[in-house]
Assembly symmetry: C2
Homo-oligomer: 595 residues x 2
């Protein structure tokens, strides 16, 4: 056993000689970027060995790291095993957190019709004359004090009810859901709910008052499954190995949600046992991974979901620590690659209600697109890939401090804007979009995406545009290869939009409004996106950026039963188009890659 | 760490220096008798140190063991800690198993109306054109192939359904319960149920075909909670310490039931995943301990149950490993000391249906008694104590091989009958009853229970009647103190019967039939029981002994929904009398102790 020390994050702990630094990082909750899942092929888990002895360089490392990096002691954490105690420096670009997460979204503006009600009651103190069972005592007190007539006590609540009633001296607030009493607490308790949007990369959680719909607090967190691979297919493969792997991936999410619940409660001075309901949304794979449902069949055509129906279970069944009888409600999925988060987004954006032809789009590793034309809703999903999250981009990174998020080039005057105004360490998705748009605008890229001659463009093995020089370090660049990656991503999205519009007999010009949802969509420059042809060439006033609409949809479903019914109706109404089956899709995709 | 070796059972394993031999025995599943729960006061966990060094004798051991035993190296396992590797001999009387357990009972003679139905179906193989979610695919196949219309798939089943459907190549037998599909298996599967009667001391389990009601196999096992104390109050105290203790006591029972399920399935060549329903009965404390419900409040007046309602939960919620969506149904309790096993007994014996005045009685550590007089049912419970199980009786033991179970004394000619016809090692409950009856009959005891002069009666500090000489060992005896213990037990039962009969305005002579249920009741000599005044002095033909009626009641409820309804009706109809509130009960109890 050796000791490992990750700096500057300051995490220390034991490590075994047969444990890679990446594995040690995972154990110590140091969130290293790992896109390839530890095979040494993505080059993202870069760390610097500061002290101690480790195993020799691998061929993978020599392929992925520059000569200068190798010289400076940079290594790939997944390739390195300790030979003594070690001290490791983790550069910011290798850390998935801290990072900007998006919790803001649309207002929750519906009248609460919550699934849970509450009433303050006083029970009869039992005597030898009348030793009424504790559960019956509670049920009859509720029936006497209210118009609610629960017929049962949640079993999990029963397991703690007897001492609880005595501690509270027979006076309690009872939370009731349908036929069941699901929680008791001191009289006057403020009962709350938890709404969560689990993204492939980020989690956004909201603590909401059940009876007013007021959002009391919101918090974002990285999806901890990232250390098992940034893209869904890698995680599906990881979870399909053994039941223990599946349980591990599920456990990471459950733990994260318990942490978020506990943090949000700490922030608002509440007890997690006052959370009586949770609504969670995510894409279909995340939905399945979170619930411990099988995912292997999602990874291959025909991409069959285990279920698309709304799932309503006791939260504790999967290990969530909320009120004893709290329910977890998962919005319905539409298809293998159109999930509950898409349904939540459609619910929050009111896409289903518009008379004008509306395109709603949530851009990510998978981009989901829905077209509502005169009430006919059709959705599709396109594999836009993780380029916007920084994968396969040489200096790609997520929206963390130091990421170049915007860029302007005018008359050879280059301006960059980084997150947190810190020294540039890489480029995030919105930055990449701007860079390519600006290069094209200035004629540094041709229509096919080829880099032209220019003083800022270095023509080595691969042409590179220099974004920012850094003293003593390699400059931050965008390479010809990076441009190709972006073209793949944006081409997939545009071809998806075109196929969807064509499928209902329209042209892109018929789209009367475009709603862009999701964290990434919030931060992009729509002009740049139109410029490079990722989004249709429509007047800019037809576009709106709405933030984390999926999170808002989850909040709506949390506090309103009729919003849940509406979500079910949306999922049922929403037709799904499988792009793999669209005639000539590959050709259209290739065309859409032009700038 | 030392090594410990228990012989002749042949269990070996590691033991720590701070772990008593009793604790080591528990860990190695050597079922040592421990009535006091390890405090050194019951003297039942006797073992012989054969090799190795151990800690010195305690005062407790000097009080509990005879000089001869001490000389022979006998120790109390709860008082001894190892100082080296040790080898320990466990005499048969210190082992709770093997032991006669009662699984036989009344016939199950009702028409099955099972809660579960099954249908063989073939699903549609999904394609890109029609990638129906797996659960929806199954539900629609069931709806097409049968008149059943389940609307959901059990969540736990969903967690394995997708690979299962593919393994079975889309052809399955689906088990359906109400609105839910709860299991799938190969077409033509024989679906079964598990009925269990958990006694304070013994567990009886039955594997039953769901659609015919046929009992395929039966098996008995000791209640493993015994190592935490033989009586319920000791276990209630143990379980009330911390949630971990409660979970430990629950876990022991759950594990035992999983073992029984697995053994019964192995015996019949079935898979435990074909067990689609379980019905479990037990007294109220056992019911609560098994479900992990709070018991502390059961231990003090007014003895309030956490619940008396029927409990219906998913079996896996408490860790039972049956079919994925199998339900566990617990029959209702009546009061803190009249539980679901009593209800099951009343159901099986048809006590509620008789026009003649009927007394039904289940004798044990707690004895439950029910009187049905013209349809008015009244029950009570009396603390008869663990004397029948061998506790507080010098040579007391349970019905294990070598136990004297019957005795006759005629003209100074003494005949004893032991279980398994083995050399006598002690006296079980039915033997104790016979001994006292025979001594009284022969004038060796007076009405007050005092031992007279007789060649077989040794008058030391305490008078003792010699039952069996054993070469090289202390003889097996019944002492004056043992007689007093029996008088306490039988007095409690008789006083309970009298109070119950009086409460409905009758005399004992009005009882037209007496049904004696339970394992102990099956093995007693009714004549002896009447002779010593444990049972009312009625013509012997009014008595019947029916075996494990509680187990039969559980089997009835397992396969018939109308039997469940009937059990609920019995529990609701059954009035409860608290003996602590009967005027002058203590005086009546004292009177009932006379022989």
């Amino acid at each position: 056993m050796f000791t490992i020390d990750f700096e500057p994050v300051g995490r220390r702990g034991p490590c075994k000689p047969d444990q890679s630094l990446l594995e040690s990082a995972r154990e110590l909750n140091v969130d290293l970027v790992s896109i390839c899942g530890g095979t040494g092929t993505c080059g993202h888990c870069k760390v610097q060995i500061i002290a101690g002895r480790v195993t020799k360089r691998t061929l993978e490392e020599e392929g992925e790291l520059s000569a200068r990096e190798l010289e400076q002691g940079f290594r790939l954490a997944c390739q390195v095993y300790p030979l003594s105690d070690v001290k490791v420096h983790v550069p910011p670009e290798s850390l998935t957190a801290p990072q900007r997460t998006q919790v803001e979204g649309l207002e929750v503006d519906v009248t609460p019709e919550p699934p849970v009600h509450a009433v303050d009651v006083t029970l009869t103190t039992p005597t030898l004359d009348s030793a009424t069972p504790d559960d019956a005592n509670l049920l009859s007190a509720v029936a006497q004090a209210s118009s609610l007539h629960p017929s049962a006590t949640d079993f999990h609540l029963q397991q703690t009810l007897s001492p609880r009633l005595r501690e509270l001296n027979w006076s309690v607030s009872a939370a009731i859901r349908g036929e069941e009493v699901i929680a008791v607490a001191a009289p006057g308790t403020k009962w709350v709910g938890l709404a969560v949007d689990i993204g492939t990369t980020k989690i956004a959680a909201y603590l909401v008052e059940m009876f007013t719909g007021k959002t009391l607090a919101a918090k974002g967190l990285m999806n901890p499954q990232i250390s098992y691979g940034e893209d869904l297919v890698t995680r599906i493969v990881a979870a399909s190995k053994t039941p223990a792997d599946s349980a591990k991936l599920q456990g990471l999410l459950v733990e994260a949600l318990n942490q978020l619940a506990s943090d949000l409660c700490a922030e608002t001075g509440l007890d997690v046992e006052t959370i009586v309901e949770a609504v969670v949304v995510g894409n279909t794979a995340i939905h399945h991974l979170f619930l411990g449902l099988p995912v292997r069949q999602l990874g291959f055509a025909p991409y069959v979901p285990a279920t698309c129906a709304p799932v309503e279970i006791k939260a504790h069944q999967i290990g969530l620590k909320l009120a004893p009888g709290a329910y977890l409600y998962m919005l319905p999925n539409v298809a293998g690659y159109v999930g509950a988060d898409h349904v939540a987004m459609l619910l929050a954006t009111r896409t289903a209600d518009f008379d004008k032809t509306t395109l709603a789009i949530d851009i990510g590793t998978n981009t989901e697109i829905c077209l509502n034309h005169k009430g006919q809703m059709t959705s599709t999903s396109c594999a836009s890939g993780p380029a916007f999250e920084g994968a396969h981009i040489k200096f790609g990174m997520r929206a963390a401090p130091g990421a170049i998020e915007h860029m302007r080039l005018e008359n050879d005057r280059l301006e960059i804007q980084t997150i947190g105004a810190e020294a540039p360490v890489g480029v995030c998705g919105s930055g990449l979009l701007d860079v390519v748009a600006q290069l094209r605008l200035n004629g540094l890229l041709d229509r096919s995406g080829r880099m032209m001659e220019h003083p800022r463009i270095h023509k080595g093995t691969v042409a590179e545009f220099i974004l920012a020089e850094r003293p003593g370090q390699d400059p931050v660049t965008i390479s010809q290869k990076d441009v190709r990656e972006l073209q793949l991503a944006k081409g997939a999205i545009r071809a998806g939009i075109q196929a969807l519009v064509a499928a209902v007999g329209l042209g892109e010009e018929d789209i009367e409004q475009v709603i862009i949802a999701g964290a990434f969509g919030t931060f992009i420059d729509v002009g740049s996106a139109v410029m490079i042809g990722m989004l249709p060439n429509l007047p800019l006033e037809r576009f709106s950026q709405v933030g984390n609409a999926a999170g808002t949809g989850a909040r709506l479903a949390l506090i309103s039963m009729s919003q849940r019914a509406k979500a079910a109706e949306i999922a049922a109404r929403d037709g799904y188009i499988e792009l793999a089956r669209v005639p000539n899709f590959q050709r259209k995709f290739a065309e859409a890659m032009y700038l």
